[in-house]
């Protein structure tokens, strides 16, 4: 087997090993990076920054373990910003049961850092099935339709819910999701009650979500891990996304390198074969 044929028939497991190496290296050496901030991410940051202390933010979370790599960093960055601004936070999952627990873990870890207390500054409404029918009732009577929080405590008596009865009392809405679950909020909350909404989606959902930004249905958009890195940069801290972004860049470079190498080898081998068939020598 000559070298050109070898390049085209490299075993996939060798490529996986190289990918693993490329992903691991940045965990030992983290260079200083500055990424350009996309206007959609900047808009999200500005909208949350304009909120006043004690404003009420609905934190829609609809991601599970399958997209933890992107959605966790987005959730953490947005929650940090809200806590930094001393906003009230209500977590609610309508599209993915795992989300309530995964976000609860993040909120519990951050509450110590920002002096937050569950029930006083933030609440976790838990998971609600059948989102669209549920939201129809929810917008009219939030404490009544929620009933109890994730711990089984009635939400109506919690200090965090003071002055919150209908969807009109919500100051800002967020949905962090790998699906189109944010559409349910647009259909039944944002559109009907004219509430401002920001969305954080996985990179695969990005192209679709930009329509909503263009039509002003949402006021800010964070796309994938890259969006989370930009948000961390705006907040001025290095979190999981910044760490992961360097690994991601290394992996992308490696994949691009492999694609170029494979294609160049294929073209050269074709030429070589053509020369041989015409009676030349290799």
């Amino acid at each position: 087997m000559n070298f050109l044929t070898f390049l085209q028939t490299v075993d996939r497991r060798f490529l996986y090993a190289m990918l693993l190496l490329a992903v691991c290296i940045p965990f030992f050496y983290t260079p200083e990076i500055r990424v350009p901030i996309q206007p959609s991410t900047q808009k999200m940051y500005d909208e949350i920054n304009e909120l006043k202390e004690n404003d009420f933010v609905l934190f829609g979370v609809d991601w599970g373990a399958g997209t933890r790599g992107e959605s966790r960093a987005q959730t953490e960055a947005l929650m940090r910003h809200c806590m930094k601004k001393k906003l009230r936070i209500a977590i609610m999952a309508i599209g993915e049961p795992q989300a309530k627990q995964l976000t609860q873990t993040i909120a519990l870890a951050l509450q110590k850092e920002y002096g937050y207390e569950q029930g006083v500054n933030w609440v976790n409404f838990g998971y609600k099935a059948d989102p669209e029918n549920y939201l129809k009732a929810w917008v009219q009577n939030i404490p009544g339709s929620i009933g109890v929080d994730i711990r089984g405590v009635p939400v109506a008596t919690m200090p965090v819910m003071k002055g919150i009865t209908t969807a009109r009392d919500i100051d800002f809405m967020l949905d962090i999701t790998p699906t189109s679950s944010y559409e349910s909020y647009i259909k039944f909350v944002q559109g009907s009650f004219n509430r401002k909404m920001g969305v954080a989606v996985t990179s695969v959902m990005g192209p679709e979500a930009f329509n909503r930004l263009d039509s002003n249905q949402i006021v800010g958009l964070i796309v994938g891990l890259q969006g989370a890195v930009e948000y961390e940069q705006l907040l001025g801290y290095k979190g999981a996304a910044t760490r992961a972004s360097i690994s991601s860049s290394f992996a992308h470079l490696l994949i691009i390198g492999f694609i170029i190498l494979g294609n160049v080898a294929m073209i050269l081998e074709r030429r070589q074969r053509a020369r041989l068939s015409m009676g030349g020598t290799a």
Binding site: R13, L20, G69, R72, I186, F188, S215, S248, A251
Partner: protein
């Protein structure tokens, strides 16, 4: 559970980390080749996912919203909801499936009525913002100071809007099936519409790879930074991972030329 076992309470973190690491490595073993360890853990995950969903639906919805009000608070009228829900299961009975059709018909009606609100809030704003100005103009001041009635449109903004309009028309032409597309303009626009959609699908596909990489990086982050200290630090964990990778590559290179393996 930790209330009954002080040992478990003091080791719960360690157990969680080891379980996470074993599960991660077992699932990544598919990258070497199809194997029974992977299959076992795949089924464990599927079972866990289903079990978690059932338990969440009971704990978060059925128990607090139906069971407690019905049995503990005496809200007897909720029994009608229970029966309405149970009627769905009559779909399996030839004799009584008309009962299932009653509730299905009811919810079809609800969904149809809801569709009006959905269209107005979801689709209409997108249709309205498709009508974009194409001629550059200055801002027009409104009655409120500092708030423009009509926003300024720069030359670059107008070009952007023109590109948007061309793409919109081309893609819409592609989906126009009412008559045969014979006219060269229609045919050309339709062809471009297909290409433009392909660009979008390409962007989505590229983004999918980014998403999958993010997932891999998250697991590697867990193995090195969270689990690493359990085996002596992230350097040791890295050495173990790379050692396993080198061993696999060696085994693969040795087995070349033997019977082809099953491709996952």
């Amino acid at each position: 559970m930790t209330q009954f076992s002080p040992w478990l309470a003091s080791h719960v973190e360690t157990i969680m980390l080891w379980t996470g690491a074993i599960c991660t490595i077992a699932l990544f073993s598919i990258l070497y080749k199809e194997n029974k360890v992977y299959r076992v853990f795949e089924h464990i995950f599927l079972g866990l996912g289903t079990g978690y969903m059932v338990s969440t639906n009971w704990n978060d919805i059925i128990y607090p919203k139906l069971w407690v009000p019905l049995w503990d608070k005496g809200e007897w009228w909720l029994v009608f909801v229970l029966f309405a829900g149970l009627f769905y299961y009559f779909i399996y009975s030839n004799k009584f499936n008309w009962l299932a059709r009653l509730v299905i018909g009811f919810f079809l009606g609800v969904t149809s009525g809801r569709a009006f609100q959905e269209f107005v809030n979801d689709i209409w704003p997108q249709v309205a913002t498709s009508f974009k100005p194409l001629i550059p103009h200055a801002a027009v001041a409104g009655p409120t100071a500092g708030k423009a009635l009509v926003k300024e449109l720069t030359t670059s903004g107008a070009i952007n809007n023109l590109i948007f309009l061309v793409i919109l028309l081309c893609v819409m032409t592609y989906f126009f099936f009412s008559f045969e597309q014979r006219h060269p303009v229609i045919k050309g626009a339709s062809k471009w519409g297909r290409w433009l959609m392909m660009f979008t699908f390409g962007a989505i596909f590229g983004s999918t790879i980014m998403g999958r990489l993010a997932l891999l990086i998250d697991r590697v982050d867990f193995l090195l930074n969270d689990f690493g200290p359990q085996v002596g630090g992230k350097g040791v964990m890295f050495a173990l991972l790379m050692g396993a990778a080198v061993l696999i590559v060696y085994l693969v290179s040795k087995s070349k030329g033997q019977a082809p393996e099953y491709e996952a």
